[in-house]
């Protein structure tokens, strides 16, 4: 790299320093001297004092000349040529001493500037911490100037700004980079932040806008109906300002302009929610109202009308047609108007009670009186195609593409800047990146950048001490969606490490199954597992009543904090090919829809019972779910399962497990062979079994374990009786008796609860009513005390 030295102390540098000394106060003082002396000189001249008038005009002229110099030259200092010295901005030069010997001196000179605060603040590092860590070697200073000039070139800036030099200083020091990484950022973030700064400087320079002047609207007609039913997007931008700079030159906006410029009658902006359909229309409105479009379209106003409002204003199709025609006629007569219908699908909805307005829309668009922009999803446009080929042929479709990471980050940065000013807070760069990375976990229904913007807006009230950090974003997501995204706290860490013990407080044995599941949960929470798949996926195999469902419930209770954090579907109810639709239904009251349930509750256990009974089409869907961690509904909207644990259960091969265990075989020894047998028997396809994280075999419980189950069930009974301060215990003989009555090799521990209810609860109830057991008693029941059938 060919480093260039700079030549401080030249005329430009001296002018900048003088400009700073004069400052705004000096400028206003000079203006005041000019006005006062000039006015006084004129007055004295009129009353005949020629000599005093002449003397007073001298300071007036000097004041005017110096004020002009400051305003037009000293405080501006346009860059002169390509040399680094002549490209340094006023802010840089005015803060630099006559000579700079090293990087530390340079940093100290510039660190009080707002651009320095912008970069260091967003990186959450302080200037006091940066100063000692800077590279202060003799050759480093020359490199600082060179890199700063390169940053200016990259950002198409003629002048080298303070921020570019600060960024250059940070980039050169490995110690500073380490500091940046420790503060939760990446070393490359310096480049992104300086680009962000450059964009905001550019916006500041080009903030003067003309909206067509006082006579603009005199060429247009009155629009009383549109004023009543519509929203003038253009006038609201003119009145309140707008920041759609990033979108005004987007492909989508250009495509709409080009279509209307080529006499298209209607354009449909197509894409999912959040992709920027409405924002693109607003960006177009901004472009048109500033007269920056082609002459055909310049100064057109865009008026948004809500299809929902219009249809609700009309009682029957005749009235609706009249209303739409009146609106379009009014827009056409007024001239220079484009109509924007955001919820256009309402006009051709198949919902019961909805009015089909596709024929009215066809007439209106066919007439070509007014350019119309429609916004709809891809599936709505497909539905329109099926419903009315003629109408869809009249509409030019413009499919919006989801922004990539760079695009979304730019959008977030621009919005963050506005939010910082309006809400008087600092949004750190790590928070902005977290918004991008985590918004997928926050809202699964929307596309980028919409979901990221929504998360940013939702996070603002959670900001503390005027700072919005990565932790703020994580807390927002945890509070709103329940999904755990923050670092594992010590208390939670302990719970995770001792998960097996916690589970065993609720279920007996099945140690292998408990251990496998606990490990999967620890991997997921520690961020070691694949983030693009469910947190864990298991196939629980074994006879009925051995604890498969109980383990799922335990996970919900211990890991997700609530036993009800579970979506449970009995797959024996999904045996027909059409049941796929039921599983993927999106209607509001579809309780049997897996998609609807997961969207409502993304952080959950999904328990699919008796999976072997589901239709093969559903098992194919399961392949996608396990592979990609998501399922897609009919309209193409994806639902994420990445924050859920998928547990499927099956009784397939239960008899074989029972027989082998009875023969004394160890379950771990025959697990692989058992799985092969299931594949050979056609119970499961190998591609499905291969996709589970673990296939867990549950063995039947032996009499000793069943006794422990009775113990657990008795604890539940005691919990219920604790409000009466009564405690029940059983003798060993009584427990053996209950196990004998409740044990059924086909149903495992399931009949045990009935047996306990019959023998213990009935007996206790009778004793309480007869007064044999009173409040505060501790009672031990023997075989004789147990109630008989």
């Amino acid at each position: 790299m060919n480093e260039q030295a700079i030549n401080l102390g030249n005329a430009r540098h001296k002018k900048a320093r003088l400009g700073k000394k004069i400052g705004k106060r000096g400028f206003y003082l000079l203006v005041l001297i000019t006005i006062l002396c000039g006015s006084l000189a004129t007055y004295i001249l009129f009353i005949g004092g020629k000599n005093f008038a002449a003397l007073l005009s001298a300071p007036a002229i000097i004041g005017f000349m110096l004020a002009s110099w400051w305003k037009r030259d000293l405080s501006v200092l346009e860059p002169h040529n390509k040399s680094i010295t002549d490209r340094l901005s006023y802010d840089v030069l005015s803060n630099l001493p006559i000579s700079i010997n090293d990087n530390k001196q340079l940093f100290q000179a510039l660190s009080n500037n707002w651009q320095s605060d912008f970069i260091l603040g967003h990186l959450t590092i302080s200037d006091e911490a940066v100063l000692p860590a800077l590279d202060n070697s003799p050759e480093a200073l020359a490199k600082t100037w060179t890199v700063a000039s390169q940053i200016a070139d990259q950002n198409h800036s003629e002048s080298i700004e303070v921020g570019f030099i600060i960024a250059s200083l940070l980039m050169q020091s490995s110690a500073v980079k380490e500091m940046i990484v420790k503060s939760g950022n990446k070393a490359e973030d310096i480049q992104d932040i300086v680009n962000w700064l450059a964009r905001s400087l550019d916006t500041k320079k080009n903030n003067k806008k003309y909206y067509g002047g006082i006579g603009r609207d005199w060429a247009n007609g009155w629009t009383p109906l549109l004023n009543k039913l519509g929203q003038n997007i253009s006038l609201s931008i003119e009145k309140y300002g707008a920041n759609y700079g990033w979108l005004t030159d987007s492909e989508g906006v250009k495509a709409v302009e080009s279509a209307f410029d080529n006499n298209a009658k209607a354009v449909a902006l197509i894409g999912p929610d959040g992709i920027g359909k409405s924002s693109s229309v607003k960006a177009l409105a901004q472009k048109l109202i500033e007269g920056k479009s082609t002459p055909n379209l310049a100064y057109h106003q865009i008026i948004g009308i809500s299809a929902m409002d219009i249809t609700s204003n009309a009682q029957h199709p005749g009235e609706l047609e009249a209303l739409i025609v009146n609106l379009v006629n009014e827009a056409s007569k007024a001239g220079h108007i484009m109509l924007f219908i955001d919820d256009a699908q309402t006009f051709f909805s198949d919902q019961p009670g909805a009015i089909d307005a596709s024929q009215i829309l066809l007439k209106v668009i066919e007439s070509g009186q007014v350019p119309i922009i429609l916004a709809m999803s891809d599936s709505d446009f497909q539905r329109l195609r099926t419903k009315s080929q003629n109408l869809s042929n009249l509409i030019t479709p413009v499919k919006l593409q989801e922004l990539d990471q760079v695009g979304v980050m730019r959008v977030l940065e621009d919005i963050a800047l506005g939010t910082e000013i309006n809400k008087k807070l600092l949004i750190t760069f790590s928070a902005i990146r977290a918004i991008y990375q985590l918004s997928d976990r926050f809202d699964q229904d929307m596309a980028y950048p919409g979901k990221a913007i929504k998360l940013l807006e939702e996070s603002v009230p959670h900001a503390q001490n005027s700072m919005m950090t990565k932790e703020t974003i994580e807390q927002t997501i945890e509070q709103i969606s329940g999904v755990k995204v923050s670092k594992v706290a010590p208390e939670e860490s302990g719970a995770l490490l001792n998960m097996e013990d916690a589970i065993h407080k609720r279920m007996i044995n099945q140690s292998h199954a408990v251990s496998v599941v606990s490990n999967a949960l620890r991997r997921a929470r520690a961020g070691v597992s694949n983030p693009n798949k469910p947190m864990g996926s298991f196939l629980f195999l074994g006879p009925t009543g051995v604890g498969k469902t109980e383990l799922a419930k335990s996970i919900a209770a211990i890991y997700f904090g609530d036993e009800s954090a579970m979506i449970r579907l009995d797959m024996s109810e999904y045996q027909q090919p059409d049941d796929v639709k039921r599983l993927l239904a999106t209607g509001e009251n579809e309780s049997s829809s897996l998609l609807l349930n997961i969207r409502k509750k993304p952080y959950t256990v999904v328990l699919l019972d008796e999976i072997e009974k589901a239709h093969p089409n559903i098992l194919n869907l399961l392949l996608q779910l396990l592979d990609e961690g998501r399922l897609t509904d009919e309209s193409g909207k994806a639902a994420s399962f990445k924050d859920s644990i998928i547990i499927t259960t099956s009784n397939a091969g239960a008899q074989e497990i029972r027989e082998r265990i009875e023969k004394g075989e160890n379950i771990e020894d025959f697990a692989n062979q058992f799985t092969d047998n299931l594949i050979n028997a056609g119970s499961f396809k190998p591609e499905l079994l291969n996709r589970f994280d673990e296939i867990v075999l549950f063995r039947p419980l032996n009499p000793d374990e069943l006794k422990q189950v009775v113990g657990l069930m008795l604890e539940e009974v005691n919990k219920t009786l604790s409000n009466k301060n009564i405690k029940i215990s059983l003798t060993d003989a009584a427990i053996t008796q209950i196990v004998k009555e409740g044990n059924d090799p086909r149903l495992g521990a399931r009949p045990m609860r009935r047996a306990l209810q019959r023998a213990v609860e009935n007996s206790v109830a009778q004793k309480i009513l007869s007064g044999a057991i009173k409040e505060g008693d501790s009672v031990t029941l023997d075989v004789a005390d147990l109630a008989s059938e």
């Binding site: 005329a11 000599n51 003397l55 005009s57 001298a58 002229i61 006082i214 006579g215 005199w218």
Partner: protein, 120 residues
């Protein structure tokens, strides 16, 4: 050095900026008064208020008169605004012209006024 910088700017870039400002000011006034738009629609009906002709002769005459009136109103309002814009542009242009002429003389006027103040 700073004094020479001042004079270099005053008779160089400073003077150029004064000349350039005539164009900027004129364009700004023209945009604020919507001159282009008003000229393009000078004879157009006021707020696009027009009557549609019926079948009868009387209706046609009435509609024509209404439309003529609407155009006349539009013409008068726009003419007034265009005239105001013209006057403003001329006024600002004259002031700017004076500024261009006086600009190079101002540094010399300082010693002149002091001398005049003493000798008068």
């Amino acid at each position: 050095m700073l004094i020479s910088s001042f004079f270099i700017w005053w008779y160089g870039d400073g003077w150029k900026q004064v000349v350039k400002s005539i164009k900027i000011r004129t364009m700004s006034i023209s945009a604020s008064f919507s001159v282009n738009s008003l000229i393009r629609t000078w004879f157009a009906p006021w707020k696009r208020i027009i009557s549609y002709t019926g079948d009868g002769f009387d209706d046609k005459i009435k509609a024509s008169l209404d439309n003529l009136f609407s155009r006349a109103v539009g013409f008068v309002v726009r003419s007034i605004v265009l005239l105001a814009a013209l006057v403003t542009i001329i006024f600002v242009a004259v002031l700017s012209l004076i500024e261009i002429i006086v600009w190079p003389l101002l540094p010399a006027l300082v010693p002149v006024s002091i001398i005049l103040g003493i000798i008068l």
